[in-house]
Subunit: 304 residues, 2 copies
């Protein structure tokens, strides 16, 4: 068993149904996605939530990969499932994987994109290779104490492929195809990296997480205004400083004053309503690729 196996996860959120369908189709038709000779393990992240077509049963599985809580056996279906996935496919698991690709969808107009958590060199190498191949935008999520415990952080290397917009619970041929393309590209560049056949681009373009904004709320916690229609669907785009963020039912605009250069992502993601996030703000940064990144990835892929 080589530890350079790749874990492909779909249905970490049970109402994101496109990637699970893609994986079922792949299982039925092995030629559907070229695994580039890599050993791939496919799993449904949260089968019970998928069965119920809800995001989760007790708690968001993609916030349950918290080593402290897992060590002390935190209760609930999703903490149990997180522990199970690590015992099965963690770096020291029964069928160990070095890399985790976690396939998600969103109601926001994120297009085909990557989400990277923090600045681990192997993650940055993999995302730079995918960006070099497909040009996908990258949301770099870091330094957010409110949002922790993401699945891919528990593997030595990992990223999220995030595709939208698509309603929860709805199969979309376009979203399936974008997911297929993102996944197949991840696998191809991992194989090329393993074989020493790649070089990284000179630069990595990331959208670095700055923070999140919620809708204006009443004292009872009800929204008083909604995401402005001129902001809806403008994920990844530069916003004029005078663009209002929100609009009330009577047309009143609220929340002016974009900071120059702040770029929204996850605009009106349905699942973030409960997290009090109407959208997140990022800054586009161009990072020189560090010479340490690719070797970090290659070391993981070559480890016996």
């Amino acid at each position: 068993m080589s530890s350079c196996s790749v874990l492909v996860v779909a249905g970490t959120h049970g109402n994101e149904v496109n990637a699970p369908w893609l994986l079922q189709q792949w299982q039925a038709s092995p030629d559907l996605i070229d695994a580039a000779g890599l050993a791939v393990h496919r799993v449904i992240g949260n089968p019970e939530a998928l069965r119920r077509c809800c995001r989760y049963v007790d708690r968001d599985l993609n916030r349950c990969f918290l080593p402290e809580q897992l060590k002390r056996g935190a209760s609930g279906l999703e903490f149990q499932r997180a522990g199970e996935l690590l015992r099965l496919h963690g770096a020291d698991g029964e069928l160990p994987c070095a890399v985790a690709i976690d396939l998600h969808s969103t109601t926001a107009a994120m297009g085909n994109s990557l989400v990277v958590y923090g600045r681990r060199p192997a993650d940055l190498a993999l995302s730079a290779l995918v960006q070099g191949a497909l040009g996908l935008p990258i949301y770099l999520h870091e330094a957010d104490a409110q949002q922790t415990g993401f699945l891919v952080e528990s593997w030595p290397c990992g990223l999220v492929v995030e595709v939208g917009p698509v309603p929860q619970g709805l199969l979309s041929a376009r979203v399936v195809e974008q997911t297929r393309l993102g996944l197949e590209t991840c696998l191809r560049v991992l194989d090329q990296a393993r074989q020493g056949l790649v070089r990284l681009p000179d630069a990595l373009v990331v959208h670095r997480h700055l923070g999140s904004r919620d809708l204006p709320k009443s004292e009872h916690g009800k929204p008083k205004a909604l995401v402005h229609p001129d902001l809806q669907g403008r994920d990844w785009q530069n916003i004029a400083p005078n663009q209002a963020m929100f609009r009330a039912a009577d047309g009143t605009e609220r929340g002016e004053g974009w900071v120059e250069g702040e770029i929204p992502v996850f605009v009106n993601e349905a699942a973030y309503v409960e997290k009090s996030i109407a959208f997140s703000l990022t800054r586009r940064e161009v990072w020189p690729v560090e010479p340490t990144w690719l070797p970090a990835l290659q070391q993981l892929l070559r480890a016996a």
Copy 2:
């Protein structure tokens, strides 16, 4: 109590959250929607489903208005609620209403549209007046034994305002505004009809229901192909006869052979997955307005 009161229903499906939010805002700000002097009763159709943010608890409320089942006290939360709404606001209820406007949203790209059930003259008069004012397309649902028991059919006059696309459970300023416009227009033309200040357009354009198509399914009932991406979002549009209906994950196209003139609606509505409907087919028809329609509506509105 005049029986010409109008019942405005939001949240008949608990995961269609935009109309309920609009009604809350209207309650807080009475000027938000001009009721044109009409006596309006606002209700949340399925409060428990809205609380849970799911379409329904036991059964689709908008298929529960079945006189036979209601008479014999069929069990389940939604049958109970249907009976309750009729006892409270039916034509012979405690606070009787002659007209019901039922506000819905859809994941399909239906835009701002009306759904009319059958050919009751008062319904056709009301929809002709709204179409004359706003130009909205009308889906005429009839002769479908698989789909019965719609709410508005239990009032002497009624129609559905259907707005999309919007994911389930997600507030959208655009959808709220379209719903507000549709509702306010219904109320304005009802008042004008009551006062004898309207004439109907010469013709009514309807999209008459012909039938529905489901995705190609495996023997286990799993989709083998999805709605073709070139069909997605093309509700109300003429489709070329050689347009494929479905596409498999490997790109294989299926389901060719549109009948000339068949026009799809409710393309990929999330809630219809369980009803085995990928989209419905309609035929666009231009009907001369009958002289009986407007008097039928006016009689209801003037009845003491």
